[in-house]
């Protein structure tokens, strides 16, 4: 505060000094030029007043007016070298003084207007900066919320995936055990061929090769499952939906066989590429397939067939359908099918279809169910596709 006052005093001194200096300069210029131009003081003192007011403010302006008036009285109006004014010169002198006063008033008013304008602008700038910062904060917060939501949604989808896999546990165990049994049988055979009195190397080799094939098959089964249950963040990429369907069908093959269900694939060969998360899409298809198999367990009077079909609806949309020959959907069930926690199964959680629908909608598609003409249900979904063939 101390420093501020000192600085302000120093500023005022400078501004008032400037006014006196300018008037002094005007006096010198007027005296130098008064022999060549008539009454030059008019211009120079006016200039001194204008500059003093503009640069220094109202106070220095007034000081310049007073100093100029005194200088003009003393040096340029008769009687010279005195502060008196003859009656003949009085109107002239008064006009001069009035003009000077008018000029200083006008300039200082302009200056004040300009100052308040500048102040308003400065204030506005500060407010804009504050508001911008606040908006940025809000935006960051919103992004954080969205990220949390996204993560929660992904976690939920994964939980549902694991539940679906859980329903397949028995058949998956069988699918892993089967190649392992082949490994053991072939490895034992290999040892037996080697243990003979004259070892049969050719037989031993082919048995060992079959053991390797079995182990490879087991690891493939495990890899298929692992991709579905690991904690992968949703990632969109170019997806060939037929490939996804083939993988899913392979995964559900065991479950289908256990329930005497035949899975048939009717895949359109020239399907456009889809942009999406292949694991989530696989989850949707797997969910529909498992539901379909489930729906046919009570069917005994006809073949249990699950048909997976793909077709290009247009250049920029594909359609996937999963059709079963099960008991079909009652109207009441059909209406509530996609509600969360709605289930017709004793062990079901009722989240599968609800999550499937939200996955498809997040991909810009649609998922719905219908009864198909010959009993059973058909679940279909569309997906927007890139406008070019997958080949």
């Amino acid at each position: 505060m101390q420093i501020n006052t000192a600085a302000a005093a120093k500023g005022a001194l400078l501004r008032y000094g400037l006014a006196i200096g300018l008037v002094f300069l005007a006096l010198l210029a007027s005296m130098g030029l008064q022999d060549s131009i008539g009454n030059p003081f008019w211009f120079f003192f006016s200039a001194a007043v204008i500059l003093s007011t503009w640069l220094g403010g109202t106070g220095p302006g007034w000081l310049a007016v007073i100093c100029s008036t005194l200088a003009v009285m003393y040096y340029f109006t008769p009687p010279l070298h005195s502060f008196a004014v003859t009656p003949r010169e009085l109107p002239y002198f008064v006009t001069f003084v009035a003009c000077e006063i008018g000029v200083t008033q006008l300039i200082s008013w302009r200056r004040r207007t300009e100052d308040s304008l500048r102040q308003a602008r400065d204030e506005l700038e500060v407010r804009v900066a504050e508001r911008t910062a606040e908006l940025k904060r809000q935006l960051a917060e919103q992004r954080r919320t969205e990220e949390t939501l996204q993560a929660t949604r992904a976690e939920l989808a994964r939980a549902a995936r694991i539940t679906t896999i859980g329903e397949l546990t028995a058949s998956i165990a069988h699918e892993v055990n089967q190649p392992l049994a082949a490994v053991v049988a072939n490895a034992d055979a290999c040892v037996a061929w080697l243990a003979r009195e004259t070892p049969d190397l050719a037989e031993a080799r082919s048995a060992a090769e079959r053991a390797t094939q079995g182990a490879t098959r087991a690891s493939e089964v495990i890899a298929r499952i692992r991709s579905l249950i690991t904690k992968a963040t949703p990632e969109k990429s170019r997806v060939q939906i037929n490939r996804v369907i083939e993988q899913t069908a392979a995964l559900a093959e065991g479950q289908a066989a256990r329930n005497s269900v035949t899975i048939t694939l009717e895949l359109s060969p020239d399907l456009p590429i889809v942009f999406g998360d292949s694991i989530q899409l696989q989850q949707v298809i797997l969910n529909l397939v498992v539901n379909g198999i489930e729906a046919m367990t009570s069917v005994t009077d006809r073949q249990r067939i699950l048909t997976l079909r793909t077709e290009a609806e247009s250049k920029c949309q594909i359609r996937v359908s999963v059709q079963d020959s099960g008991v079909g959907l009652k109207e009441e069930v059909m209406r509530r099918l996609f509600e969360p926690f709605f289930t017709t199964r004793a062990k079901g959680m009722g989240m599968g279809l609800s999550i499937s629908r939200s996955i498809i909608e997040a991909h810009g598609g649609r998922l719905w169910a219908e009864s198909n003409g010959s009993g059973g249900a058909i679940f279909q979904f569309t997906l927007p596709s890139e406008d070019r063939p997958s080949a």
Binding site: H174, A181, N186, A189, R217, R258
Partner: protein, 207 residues
């Protein structure tokens, strides 16, 4: 290999397991024939030699248990070794009740399977021998006249000639003559032998 060599039939829908089991069994010098399904097995011809079945319980189409029942109903007695991926108890109980020879869980230890196969073949050999003997006995017994058969039944039941004569309303001498014919036709060396043969025939018929 001689035609009389025993055969092991392996039925499994999984090619890799089929090949592995086949190789394993062949490595101990046994003859193996493989089938991908129960239907294929039923459609094939089976030579009349000692044999056993190595059968996967769970197969598409006709299951292992179905095949076991069908073979029994068709009167084809062949020992069955079941292999199952999931050793669930109700299923194994059912299989054993229907006369399964052995019930092994996947993955099967090679030695366990080979032991089971050898035992099954040995038991089939014995059964076949018994059946063959029973068949011979049956032929001999069939050659008896109705009267001789009546006498035989009572002799085997432990009745004395006098009692038989009373019961059938004939003289003791006639009974003796019939009895001598029975002993001759059935090639019985003694009364004990005759009783044993008729017992053998009865159990074979019951089976």
């Amino acid at each position: 290999m001689k035609e009389q060599d025993p055969i092991v039939f392996v039925i499994d829908d999984d090619r890799m397991i089929r090949d592995g089991l086949q190789s394993l069994i062949r490595s101990v010098g046994l003859r193996v024939e493989t089938f991908a399904s129960a239907q294929d097995f039923l459609g094939a011809k089976h030579p009349d030699v000692p044999a056993c079945l190595v059968l996967d319980v769970r197969m598409p189409g006709l299951s292992g248990l179905d095949l076991q029942l069908k073979l029994r109903d068709d009167g084809i007695p062949i020992p069955v070794i079941f292999i199952t991926g999931h050793g669930d108890i109700p299923m194994s109980v059912r299989a054993m009740k229907e006369g399964a020879h052995e019930f092994l869980t996947k993955p099967v230890r090679g030695q366990d399977l080979l032991d089971a196969v050898q035992k099954a073949l040995a038991s089939d050999r014995v059964l076949r021998q018994e059946r063959r003997e029973a068949d011979e006995i049956r032929v001999r017994f069939e050659s008896l006249t109705p009267r001789e058969k009546e006498v035989l039944a009572l002799v085997v039941a432990g009745l004395l000639n006098k009692q038989i004569a009373d019961q059938l309303g004939m003289s003791e001498l006639t009974v003796k003559t019939h009895r001598a014919h029975v002993m001759e036709k059935t090639e019985a060396e003694s009364l004990a032998h005759l009783v044993r043969m008729s017992e053998q025939l009865r159990t074979a018929t019951r089976k």
